[in-house]
Structure formats: structure tokens, C-alpha cells
Symmetry: C2
Subunit: 321 residues, 2 copies
Amino acid sequence: MPRPVMIGIVGDSGSGKTTITRGLVRVLGDEQVSHFCADDYHRFDRRQRAERDLTPLHPDCNFLDILGQDLGHLRANEPVLKPVYQHTDGTFGAPDYFEPGRFVVTEGLLALYTPALREMFDVRVYLDPPEELRRRWKVARDCSRRGYTTDQVLAELDRREPDSEEFIRPQRHHADVVVSFRPGASDEQNLLDAHLILRDTLPFPDLSAIAAEHEQGGVELAERPGEKELCVPGTIGAARAAEIEEAIWGRMHFASHLRQQRLGEFTVGTDLHRSEALALTQLLILYHVVTARAVVALGGESARPGVEARTTPRLEQVTPA
Amino acid sequence: MPRPVMIGIVGDSGSGKTTITRGLVRVLGDEQVSHFCADDYHRFDRRQRAERDLTPLHPDCNFLDILGQDLGHLRANEPVLKPVYQHTDGTFGAPDYFEPGRFVVTEGLLALYTPALREMFDVRVYLDPPEELRRRWKVARDCSRRGYTTDQVLAELDRREPDSEEFIRPQRHHADVVVSFRPGASDEQNLLDAHLILRDTLPFPDLSAIAAEHEQGGVELAERPGEKELCVPGTIGAARAAEIEEAIWGRMHFASHLRQQRLGEFTVGTDLHRSEALALTQLLILYHVVTARAVVALGGESARPGVEARTTPRLEQVTPA
């Protein structure tokens, strides 16, 4: 039994972690994926945080060492006893016996904060929407699903801003993929552009052909030392998006059995929408995930170049032409 | 910083675990010892156990795998996030961030149940009083300190008996030291004899001289393959007990700085008593503990013969003549 593939989805509160994750789960299969909430590892309950004037975004407010231990157990295919933080009343409940699936998706505020945490993940994703957009998303969610008022959410956002700046945002530098949805050419709020930074800390498929072929479709690719930046406009047509998806799936032929599910769905309130830019974003993350799975299944340690290279099969072995 | 010395004190409810531990803590120093309660790793709260008709003595009722993981972390000098079972209402509270001291004393019902758990301990002690005595101790404690009625405690003892027999008592076979206090020649209830089984799973000092010298004082030593049995009568005189203690301390000269504290104290209700037989029992356990500490401090893995012998300094190096 190979070890689970570990995926870290990190970003500030309301940055869209669950939306990104949902597509991965649809493709990989719900029974294959276990969701791991890193924000349950709070050191203090709500009352204690208030007494200390600490926000949950502060590293001192979280048992990051224990989180690292537990991620290590999951990575070794062992169960853990996860603490449970109850959002309803801000206290801790009975711990949860958590067994890893073939894929462990960890969502959290600080899951890329320390080197020990970062080492646990095969794929590190950071969600980086513009603040204006994140505030809008957070207000919408916290008011509709968590019972807060708009004033309460906005006041909390202001109170947390220094910690967001000091502790959350610097984690973007440690991600393999940085995802930033931004308003683009369209006035339509549901047609956001996807700006993706793809770092060479993981091997990517050759995207230059994709961008060249579809230049007129508005997909832009910029290359900088150590990273590429890909921009997928929200207005991209379905046919053109399908061509690009096809090209990426073509480079993931060893995972072609996964192709039956649709990517790119998201909700606004209870309305279901679809975004081609989101679908492509999820697909590129999925590429890393299934590549890591293939490496691990062949007895390798990591798809990450330079990491324990001697025990890692070369990617060519995993992805025969 | 050498790893902590791990001591397991195991026995059924009311068997005297806390009494044995208290003497060790007094000698080693409260600030050096951390108490670890293995019975916090319950799988079910009180209501769930009632629904399933399970007692807390059943292995299925406990996360023994997670307990083993956490003991492994403590042994590696790492903190753990320990679940907290609240005896007052039978539910779980906020978990406890637990950092190991130089000595970790683990008390529990099932801490020697699996091979993985047993491997975690440098010294394994099982408390094995006659059932009649244990029932009396448990009634006295649970009624005076935990607010139960005599009928409730006796009914619970009856309900637990099959699990005690099936799961708890077999652990005696895996201990380095089995301690059994029993009524002896004296009618005085506070002058119990100590029957000790000392297994050669740990290296003991040569006790034959002690027994021979003090044969007339009633200390008896029987030798069987793989173990010795020592009987210290509850009526042993203070002077004679002091001579024996002196002889054992003489074999622990590398720990002579610990000699200032008194062993052998126990309480009946709120009355403090002293037993020479208890003091000698605690001292023999202490011998194992300080020997393990010396081995670990010299970079060895274990004082246990045959365990990773190549990395373990020979005991002669630890205890120069």
C-alpha cells in the first residue's frame, strides 16, 4: 500500500480553499480523498483568544508542531487523533480518529508556515485573491452560512489584517502553485480571470505550446526564472477551454480513467455556476496530484526535483511517451 | 539532551498505581517527572460506552494505536496533544499539550497490552493485588474521592470482571516487575507483605546476598528460570529494612544524590502511613529507572538485555565498581 499523496491548500479565511478542493474531490472520487482541517489545531478556544487578544491567524495560537507530527503520521499511512475545534461555540469537542485516504487534502490558514509543515506536502497550493474580492467572499459566506452580521465580519477582517499580512500572505512564496482569481475584462462577477504562478519546485507539463496555440484566445504565458505565470481569462470560450483541457489531459494519459467528471463548478449562495478558468486551474493542480500519485505508486519518495533524488524514479518512467 | 526514561505503571482500577508512582516522584523530583495518563485515550465517552455495553477496560474502547504513537513521540523527547477524558461527566474536554520531563511515568489500564506499547517502556511494572484487596481499595477511593456509593462501585466491579480477566490481568506476563501486596502474618491491615516478581528482562542487582543476610528477618528470595520472587514481610523492622535499602542504594551509587527522600508512604483516607515493604518495592523499581537513565545519558538505547545491544553501552560501563 503506497503512502497517501499529501495536498496542502492554504490561504486566508474566505480565499476559496473549499471551492478549489471540491473539484479535486469530484475527479479523484470522494471515497479516495480525506479532508484534513489544519485549523482544528488551535491552541486556545475562543474565550482564551479574546483574553489574550490573539487572532486564530497567529502561529502562537496554533499547535503547528503537533500538526506537523500528525501530517507525518498521515503521510506514513497511519491514523491520527485530530483535535476538533467547534466553530459553533468556539470550544473543543471530542477528538476525531482520522484515517488517511489515498489522497489527503489539508486545508488551512498556516499549513505552509514552517519548513517542517511544507515538507509534508507533495503539492502546495496558495490561494491569493485580491483583498477586495476575499472580503466580499468572506462576508457572503460568514453571513449566510455562519450566522454573523456584515458589521461583525468586516470588524473581524480589520482586526485580523496585521496577522494576515505578517503570517498568512508570506506563505505564498512557499507554494508550488499560487492561484489568484481577479476581475478581468468582463464586468460579469462570475467570469473572473485566473492568474496562476506555477513554480518549478514541481515538474510541469510543457505549457508553451498551449499558450502559443491559443494566444488569440487570450491565454497568456510569462516565463521568469523558477516560475511561469499563466493567465486564463474568465471570458475564454468553452470550446477553446476544452482544447486546452484536452492538451493537459493528453500529458496525463496515465490518469485518463479520471476524465469522466466535470471541473470548474462553484457556488454563489446556493446557485451553482461554472468557470472555465476555474476548471483549468483545478486541472493543473490535479496534474501535480496524479503525478505525485504515480511516483509514490512506483515506490518513489517525491516528484519534487532534488528531494531524495536517489530514491525517486525519474518522471519519464512514470509518464512513458 | 537524552531522551526521557519511560516508565509504565499498569494495573486494574484501584490496584495502587498512584501509590507506587508517588514514591518515585518524591525521589526523582516533581519537576523531573511528567505523569501521563494512558486512560485518557478512550474511544468512546461514557454515554457511548453505555450504548455499546462496553467497559473502559476493553481494548476496542481505547485508541491504543494512537497511545503508542504518542508514547513514541514522548520517548523521542517531542510534545504530544493528549486527549482529555473528564471523569466528572464522562466526556472529552480540550486536549492537553503535554511535554515530556526527564522521566515520563505512564499510568494506565492497558498500557502493556500490545507489543508496540510494551516497546515504549524502559521499565514495565504491573500491580497485581489479590482481588479482595483491590475491591476494598477501589470502594474506599471511589466512594471517598469520586462520589460513588458502595453499591455502585461493587456493581461496576462485577460488570467489569470479565474484561479484567480477559484483558487486564494477562498483562502481568509482560512486566519487568510484578508487585503484589498481600495480607501476611500480621492482622494489621497496614502491614501488608510485598511479593515481587523480578524478571530478567531487565538486569537486577544481585539480591541473593540481601536475602541470605536477612533470612532471619523474613525476606525470602526464590529463583526460577527467567525470574526471581522476593517476599518482604509487612512486619519487617525498620532497622532491618534500612540495612536492605542501604545495600540496594550501594548498588546505585551513581544515583546517590537522590537519597535524601523517604519512600514507602501511603494514605488510608486522609491518614498518612508508612510501609517498609512498600519502600523496598519502590526502591527496586527506582533501581531500574535510574539504571535506564544512566544508559540513556551515555547514549545507549536501552538497559534491556538483547535490545539493540550493539548501540547499548554495557551496564558495567554505567556502574563502575
